[in-house]
């Protein structure tokens, strides 16, 4: 296995040099895949990609250039554990860093709960290859047969003599290029029950910095000579800047530049202090043009589309659903709606840009640094290679940071002044000028046969594009004609066995900017499906958990994992016990992205005195396959359950006159301490050999379980989210 490559291309070598590989060291490297400019980075990692992310440093420690952005989900920690498993490392022997965009070939944007599920394999392979290469090196140096070099922590045991990785660092920069289809043992898979690090709850090395206030977020970046910028943003979604007049901004002391750039619809100022910006912006008069041809948000009503029998996409059509001779003894029809929602991350976005003749440097928290790089290169008409994005930890992502608008604004401003410029969005801007989770409007008709089984299920819904929400306006009409947005439809394929089933939907682009938000369509679609399942069970007086289990049986047992988490959540929550008056239990379950099985039970109380609906407790049982770090996974599940409470009872963004009405946490409510229920979280031990999606999985069933519990407590069915005491008893 001679896999050392020294004559690497300049193109490949540059990533190494950029990541500090000027001196001795060893790394493994792979090809740089091309990515289409100015579209989000969507290519899945290839198995060889892991080779470019693991480096042996001259001091014998391992540096892991993590190809996932940290926004609180903890993926870099989990992937570090996989590297450590392969290389037999203590936590202190690995350093995990977030590479700048010129330090690693492009990698897929950090979305979709797939950081561990999708990246564990290439990361494991890269680290395993490095280990076996080092073992060969140790064999050469000791003249021992390779079989006598046994794994030891941070190196090898050579018949009683310890050889640390530090002793095996080559004198010159060395790259590994493994053979195709090599058979290097990946301990992550082969050790199975004997794993040493995977499955342990390592604590994040970032914790101490966080609790002492030392962690740097985008807003905390400060460069010598840095100026501050701000921008007048459009008063409506459909506004375009036509012209502007400076009526005294540039003349203000401390103002360095006024930028009126109609071609990029940007109107901004640059000043020495952030405190001058608001006054300066008042001294510019913009002229806007309003209007475009997109639909109004008011049109997203499923009844309108049903009246015309006009849906763009058919997701499921099974069992001759067009036939009208379905025999049912009991039919139930209902409509369900969910609202526009905001990401409302605690960190309002910010960025610093420094544009010089030589290059463009960007510091920002973002889910896709290569998308940011492409957009800024296009905006400034620069070569992509000249733009370097330094990604920072995000103060919450939730799908909301695929774009970094302040990075683009700062880049345009910095291009004018040639000095670093920081742009910091305030909370109002964060609420009003990002993209949103679209509202959903559902109609489901279903019927039961004489045995209490679902004879037919007809589900239609209308919402807006999510995955393709961010495509440029010019491209959108063509795209919308041909592509069914899978993000909008996420979770709409229900898991139950039914006689006939048809699911149709339309993804209508409206004036309101829409895009990724935690779980995409999963929570709105699961809410509709699991509410209807509850309605059907109650229609025939069946226990809702038993009713679900009855519809998961059969079909070759492939729904058994879902049935298992349902039974378990019934066990841990004491399902079936009687509840006091004005208290109720609700259950819901779902399969996230076809892989992670989750069931949730909610305990809800109706407080007539305080006119409140209160979630007292949530129980969640989740099967997400192999768990790399149980504590991190449980924290993610906890967050999902709290989001379930928020979406069910609090969160709603409204649109009037082409702009969001809500501007801060007084208008847009998210869950607070006094509303946050206790949570009991159980992860199912499983024979599954791979990690599966975690970051968004438990959210959707939590929402539905709360709605179903509210019905059990009140006898009133919440069909529009969010709901509260007054809407329930209206």
């Amino acid at each position: 296995m001679e896999n050392i490559v020294r004559n690497i291309s300049i193109d490949r070598r540059k990533f190494l040099i950029n990541s500090g590989w000027l001196a001795a060291g060893l790394t493994v490297l792979t090809s740089c895949k091309g990515v289409f400019a100015v579209l989000p980075t969507t290519a899945n990692p290839e198995i060889e990609d892991g080779l470019s992310w693991v480096q042996l440093m001259p001091d014998g420690r391992i540096r892991f250039l993590c190809p996932r952005m940290e926004m609180g989900q903890g993926a870099p920690l989990g992937l570090s554990q996989i590297v450590a498993e392969e290389l037999n490392l203590e936590q202190s022997q690995i350093e995990c860093v977030s590479p700048a965009s010129n330090q690693s070939p492009p990698f897929k944007m950090t979305v979709g709960s797939e950081s561990i599920a999708l990246f564990s394999e290439p990361v494991s392979r890269g680290a395993a290859n490095l280990r076996e290469h080092l073992r060969q090196q140790a064999a050469r140096e000791t003249a021992l047969p390779i079989g006598q070099l046994k794994d030891a922590t941070g190196g090898f045991d050579a018949v009683g003599r310890f050889i640390g990785y530090g002793e095996l660092v080559p004198a010159e920069v060395t790259l590994l290029m493994p053979e195709q289809n090599d058979t290097v043992a990946q301990y992550f898979y082969t050790r199975a029950e004997a794993r040493r690090i995977v499955g342990k709850s390592w604590r994040s090395p970032d914790l101490e910095n966080i609790v002492t206030g030392k962690t740097i977020y985008s807003r905390d970046v400060s460069l010598p000579g840095m100026l501050y910028g701000d921008v007048i943003r459009p008063p409506r979604f459909d506004a375009t800047l036509v012209d502007a007049k400076d009526i005294g901004a540039e003349a203000m002391p401390g103002v360095e530049a006024v930028v009126i750039d109609t071609s990029n619809s940007l109107l901004g100022v640059v000043a020495k202090s952030p405190l001058l910006l608001a006054d300066a912006l008042k001294r510019i008069e913009p002229v806007w043009r309003f209007g475009n041809s997109t639909a109004s948000a008011d049109e997203l009503e499923v009844t309108r589309y049903r009246a015309r029998d006009d849906f763009e996409h058919t997701l499921v059509d099974e069992g001759n659903s067009a036939a009208n001779d379905v025999i049912s003894v009991r039919s139930v029809s209902a409509n369900y709606t969910t609202s526009y929602m905001a990401h409302a991350a605690m960190e309002p976005r910010a960025a610093v840009a420094w544009v010089t003749e030589e290059n463009v440097k960007i510091w920002c928290g973002c889910q896709d640094p290569y998308f940011i790089r492409g957009r800024i290169a296009a905006l400034l008409e620069r070569d992509e290679e000249e733009v370097v994005v330094h990604p920072l930890r995000m103060g919450g992502g939730f799908g909301g940071r695929i774009l970094s608008q302040p990075a683009e604004e700062a880049a345009l401003l910095s291009a004018r002044v040639g000095r670093p410029v920081g742009v910091q969005w305030d909370r109002e801007t964060e609420f009003q000028h990002n993209y949103f989770q679209p509202k959903f409007s559902h109609a489901i008709d279903s019927g039961l046969d004489a045995k209490g089984k679902i004879a037919y299920w007809r589900h239609d819904f209308v919402s807006s594009p999510i995955i393709f929400g961010l495509v440029p306006r010019g491209l959108a009409p063509i795209l919308d004609t041909f592509i069914a947005d899978k993000g909008t439809a996420r979770g709409a394929r229900m898991p139950y066995q039914v006689g006939q089933q048809r699911v149709r939907y339309s993804d209508i682009r409206t004036e309101v900017p829409t895009g990724a938000w935690r779980g995409l369509g999963a929570a709105p679609n699961t809410f509709a499906i699991e509410s209807m399942m509850d309605e059907l069970a109650f229609a025939i007086g069946e226990d809702p958990l038993t009713f679900r289990l009855a519809h998961l049986a059969g079909a070759g047992g492939h729904m058994e994992p879902l049935a298992t988490v349902l039974r378990r959540v019934g066990d841990v929550s004491g399902w079936g016990r009687s509840t006091p008056k004005n208290r109720g239990r609700g259950v819901a379950c779902a399969i996230y992205k076809g892989q992670t099985h989750v069931a949730v039970v909610a305990d809800v109380a109706i407080d007539h005195g305080e006119r409140q609906v209160k979630v007292l407790r949530l129980w969640c049982v989740q099967n997400c396959g192999l768990v790399v770090n149980p504590d991190q996974v449980e924290n993610q599940v906890l967050g999902n359950l709290m989001w379930g409470c928020g979406m069910a009872l609090e969160e709603k963004l409204t649109i009037s006159d082409g702009i969001a009405n809500e501007r801060n946490f007084d208008g847009y409510n998210i869950l607070r301490h006094n509303e946050a229920p206790e949570a009991v979280i159980k992860l199912v031990k499983t024979a599954r050999a791979k990690p599966l999606a975690v970051g968004e999985a438990a959210f959707a069933p939590a929402v539905a379980a709360i709605a179903n519990a509210a019905f059990a407590a009140s006898g009133k069915r919440p069909r529009a989210l969010p709901f509260d005491y007054d809407s329930l008893y209206a």
């Binding site: 903890g74 966080i210 206030g213 807003r219 605690m346 006094n674």
Partner: protein, 153 residues
């Protein structure tokens, strides 16, 4: 002048109208105190003013002249010895943070809560912490960490 984490800091007259938050971040260059909403709604900018939890975004410099301000950077100095404050230690033990952005504010509120009420029950913790939002939803762990800090102090 103000006392900021034990240091006497001069405040120029021109800055009297500035918010304490802007002063801390942009003049004292202490970045651990976070901007979250600018309206006292989220608690991310919580500091101690003469030992009590206050929203730095809602105070002007003229209101805090001559007073003691403690930020997250000065929290550990409130305890004996070189170590972290008990709430900081409890936050690590319970692995509370996800994104971490709200946590300096949560910690400052928790530390002030415990100095007023060393043995809070669950309802006290909920009420005392209610002004601090955590979008990641770590509330359950925050409550556990506050209870742990109370136990171990």
């Amino acid at each position: 002048m103000i006392d900021l984490n034990g240091n006497t800091v001069r405040v120029e007259k021109a800055l009297y109208d500035l918010s304490l938050l802007d002063f801390i971040r942009d003049h004292a260059l202490l970045k651990g105190t976070k901007y979250g909403c600018g309206q006292g709604l989220c608690g991310a900018c919580t500091v101690h003013l003469d030992g009590a939890a206050q929203r730095a975004c809602q105070l002007s410099m003229s209101e805090v002249l001559g007073r003691n301000v403690t930020t997250i950077e000065g929290l550990s100095a409130l305890t004996d010895g070189d170590g972290l404050h008990p709430v900081q230690q409890a936050w690590i033990t319970e692995a509370v943070p996800q994104c971490g952005y709200c946590q300096p504010g949560q910690l400052m509120t928790a530390a002030a809560l415990l100095s007023e009420n060393p043995v809070p029950n669950d309802a006290d913790i909920r009420a005392g912490m209610n002004g601090n939002i955590c979008r990641c939803g770590t509330y359950d762990r925050i409550r556990r960490a506050v209870a742990r800090a109370a136990r171990e102090t």
